[in-house]
């Protein structure tokens, strides 16, 4: 039987299982139907309820603009799926082509998509994490709880971790007039994602908006009162702060534990896959029927010298979902690679921050346009003399230009003057903190040799 014929049959009555019912899972399901897949479609998700959008959770939901329940993702078509919600997947049997659920059910498939994403890294001490007033922000329930805690007007909010989520929440709290302390282990906010120079800008921004910003400190203990309510936090420098609400914003953990014994190439950075979203097995061989998309995927990008990159970006989830869906129902010759340049945005302290490329893939950074003191500028990032990323503060309309510079491996620093080039524009070392910190805050992780020295070392057993 020809492979084209097999594929036609699969498209007509094959079985697809999607594990992960969030943005990537839903968009993949829609794309599969859009591509003419008429077989059975099963959506597995550990949360109850319809797929929802997460970016508003640290923004519009916390301001009270949008209720947490109002972020349901729009449906672009009827996906006619069987929904298995509220039960997490617990294992994958590659030999039998079955997904195992936590309640013991086994769901057979012909092709399967892993889109299990990331969960919030919890506060490491369980009894402290359980105190009233201690939050993480990942799910709708998290955001709803935090929104209510903020609306109650606490005397102070402590935010642990000044990555994008932590900084956005600090901004919302200041907007609502709440006293805020931000504790960051690194030297500055956003430093894990954008480096030391932009980190300083972010630190100035926070202080200018009245945030009590403490960098280079670790929160050593969260102290509760007799009723189990958060009262105080203790810092590694001996300081303390009294707060009724603490937000643990220490980044995410990729939901891959359920795949540990599956035989797939799974690690802390996610499930490794090729540029067409096909998963690799433990031996680095590409599978035919297992696909990966979204935050949990870790895939090579030729623009970044084929390094494996894990991204927690909204657009990446959508793009990979569509590529994976297409490739699931296409012949070898028709498959698409996912080669787009990453992009993300954030809004905090009245500043619109946007980025193209992979800022962590850089050794130098330069303010290419605008003025840092006005907080309107574009910073370009370079690695070994070529442009690899750019970040704009209130200046997003220029980023298409930098995207082209990245795509064409243009020389760094971008050579030609512009009317708004700062007079003293000099590249400086980008200076990212080490891998331990990065694991907690960055929304992009480049794995492999350099930059940043996040190396893999082969350790042989018994030596």
């Amino acid at each position: 039987m020809s492979s084209a014929h097999t594929l036609q049959r699969f498209k007509r009555d094959g079985r697809v299982v999607i594990v992960g019912a969030s943005l990537a899972g839903l968009r993949a399901a829609e794309a599969l139907r859009g591509e003419g897949f008429t077989g059975s479609l099963t959506m597995i998700g550990d949360e109850l309820g319809e797929p929802y959008d997460r970016p508003p959770l640290s923004k519009q939901v916390l301001t009270g603009w949008v209720p947490a329940g109002g972020t349901t993702l729009p449906r672009r078509c009827d996906i006619d799926a069987e929904w298995l919600l509220g039960v997490p997947a617990d294992g994958l049997d590659l030999a039998a082509d079955q997904v195992r659920l936590a309640d013991g059910r086994r769901i057979p498939f012909d092709r399967m998509l892993i889109a299990t994403g990331v969960r919030a890294r919890p506060w490491p001490v369980e009894e402290e994490a359980a105190l009233d007033g201690v939050f993480v922000v990942r799910t709708r329930e998290d955001a709803d709880g935090l929104q209510r805690a903020i609306a109650a007007g606490p005397s102070r909010v402590l935010i642990i971790g000044a990555g994008f989520t932590g900084s956005e929440i600090a901004s919302v709290c200041r907007e609502r007039g709440l006293p805020v302390t931000v504790a960051e282990l690194g030297p500055a906010p956003l430093v894990g994602g954008l480096g030391a120079m932009i980190g300083e800008v972010a630190a100035d921004m926070q202080r200018a908006h009245g945030v009590d910003l403490r960098c280079g400190v670790r929160v050593t203990r969260l102290e509760g009162d007799a009723h189990g309510r958060l009262r105080r936090a203790h810092f590694s420098d001996g300081g303390t702060v009294d707060a009724e609400v603490a937000v643990v914003a220490l980044g995410g953990i990729r939901n891959t534990e359920w795949l540990r014994d599956s035989g797939l190439a799974v690690g802390v950075w996610g499930v490794a896959c090729d540029a067409g979203c096909r998963a690799f097995d433990l031996n680095g061989l590409v599978t035919d029927d297992i696909f990966v998309a979204g935050d949990v995927a870790r895939s090579p990008n030729p623009v970044y010298e084929y390094r494996f990159i894990s991204l927690e970006h909204w657009a990446n989830a959508v793009e990979q979902a569509e590529i994976a869906a297409h490739n699931m129902v296409s012949t070898q010759a028709d498959r698409w690679p996912h080669l787009s340049i990453p992009a993300f945005w954030s809004i905090q302290f009245g500043v619109n921050i946007k980025s193209v490329g992979v800022p962590t893939y850089a050794d130098e950074v330069v303010v290419a346009q605008g003025s840092v003191s006005d907080r309107r500028f574009v910073a370009a990032y370079g690695y070994q003399g070529r442009v690899t990323a750019a970040v704009s503060f209130n200046n997003a309309k220029w980023l298409d230009h930098y995207r082209r510079l990245i795509e064409t491996a243009a020389p760094f620093p971008p050579p030609c003057p512009t009317p708004d080039q700062p007079v003293d524009a000099k590249p400086v070392p980008v200076d990212f903190p080490g891998p331990t910190l990065l694991a907690q805050g960055a929304t992009v992780v480049v794995t492999g040799h350099d930059p940043g020295g996040r190396r893999v070392t082969a350790v042989r057993q018994g030596r």
Binding site: Q369, K397, W398, C416, P417
Partner: protein, 404 residues
């Protein structure tokens, strides 16, 4: 590859005899995406190259960056933000946007809808029973002029005065020292002075007076960027007054012409008024009011494709050609009212993206829907119609329509 093989194509485009259908010439031009002209200027005509350079921070909108000084069209006045680069452009545009759009003035444009419908209705009432109308003089021109006058706070009855000045300014935009009489430029310079003086007179009485029109708000309201100087307010008002109607008149007239040439689309619109939204987008691609951005400057050397455009060069952007580029748009010479993925260049792109785009869209949507609804069996009297002189802001001079 730099070539000089098509200098005459541009000449032919600028020639008035090509005005009715410049599109075959654009196709010819696109064979050389970046074409060096005999006078040292560069013409860019393909979609990819146009969007690339429109987002390139080395492309300057400030003619003072040209190595060969431009004939003084603006009469050495403070330039408006359309002719400035960041950071000055950004500051002035922000100050103007404060009173025109979100986040500080959301809903201004959509809130105008009843007013716009009333103006359109009144104009159509005026000619509904006439056998023959001129869509330009009776409709496409008076409508946006009335709207922009109200918005700015310019007395509508002064229109005959500034009409003359605006015409002279428009004529001088594409001034060519090689072929045009110097009077064309002199008239433009004088008209600019006259118009500025007129607007300055209006502004004088606005300080310290509350009011809702843009002139008054610009004169009184402070934001985080402070306030515009009087010179800056005059430049901004000057820009908005001219751009606020000289482009929309062409968009509406081109729209009526296009619908009359595509009766099946016209009939569809009658029964399906919501079609007007994508239809106007397609119009902006297919028959846009702004065809060319003639005066941009290379702030430093810019590489486009394989061509290095040297610092100080004049760059002409053939927007209407880019919007008909077959490498970007499927079947580009076909008018497809519900075209998808229609990222046309009708309003430009990048930081100078048309300030008044949302207003122009709404005006044209209302104008076309209402006209189609109320005119019974309209027919073109002359096709092609006579065209206005400008190849830059292209549109019919008159558009006679008979009702059968």
């Amino acid at each position: 590859m730099t070539t000089t093989e098509t200098p005459d194509t541009l000449r032919r485009i600028l020639d008035h005899s090509s005005r009715a259908d410049p599109y075959p010439l654009y196709a010819e031009l696109r064979r050389t995406p970046v074409a060096l002209q005999e006078d040292g200027s560069y013409v860019i005509s393909t979609y990819r190259e146009l969007t690339g350079i429109l987002h390139d921070p080395r492309l300057s909108s400030d003619v003072r960056n040209l190595s060969r000084p431009m004939a003084a069209v603006e009469g050495r006045a403070t330039p408006s933000f359309i002719n400035l680069d960041p950071p000055e452009h950004d500051r002035l545009r922000r100050l103007a946007m404060r009173h025109f759009g979100p986040p500080h003035t959301p809903g201004l444009v959509t809130g105008l809808e009843p007013d716009l419908a009333a103006v359109v209705g009144g104009l159509i009432d005026g000619f509904a029973d006439q056998e023959r109308i001129d869509v330009v003089d009776d409709f496409a021109y008076p409508f946006p002029v009335t709207v922009i006058c109200r918005l700015l706070g310019v007395p509508r009855e002064d229109e005959p005065r500034f009409h003359v000045w605006v015409n002279a300014i428009i004529e001088s935009i594409d001034y060519d020292p090689g072929t045009d009489p110097p009077e064309k430029l002199d008239n433009g310079v004088q008209a600019t002075k006259d118009l500025r003086e007129y607007l300055g007179g209006l502004l004088e009485g606005r300080h310290g007076r509350p009011g809702d029109d843009l002139l008054t708000r610009l004169a009184n309201d402070d934001g985080p960027d402070g306030r515009m100087t009087d010179e800056e307010i005059i430049s901004t008002a000057n820009l908005l007054l001219i751009a606020g109607h000289e482009t929309t008149v062409n968009l509406i007239a081109n729209g009526v012409l296009t619908l009359l040439r595509h009766p099946e689309v016209l009939n569809r619109l009658r029964g399906e008024p919501d079609l007007v939204v994508p239809l106007v987008e397609e119009l902006l691609r297919y028959e846009p009011p702004v065809h060319i951005i003639p005066w941009r400057a290379a702030y430093s050397d810019i590489t486009v494709g394989d061509t290095v455009i040297p610092k100080g060069s004049q760059i002409m952007l053939m927007l209407a050609s880019g919007s008909r580029d077959p490498d970007r748009f499927e079947d580009p010479d076909r008018f497809t009212p519900d075209r998808r993925d229609n990222q046309h260049l009708g309003f430009g792109s990048g930081i100078h993206l048309c300030f008044g785009g949302p207003l122009a869209r709404l005006e044209t949507q209302i104008a076309l829907t209402e006209l189609v609804r109320r005119l019974e069996r309209p027919g073109l009297v002359v096709d092609p119609p006579p065209y206005r002189p400008s190849p830059v802001l292209r549109g019919p001079l008159h558009l006679y329509v008979e009702q059968g």
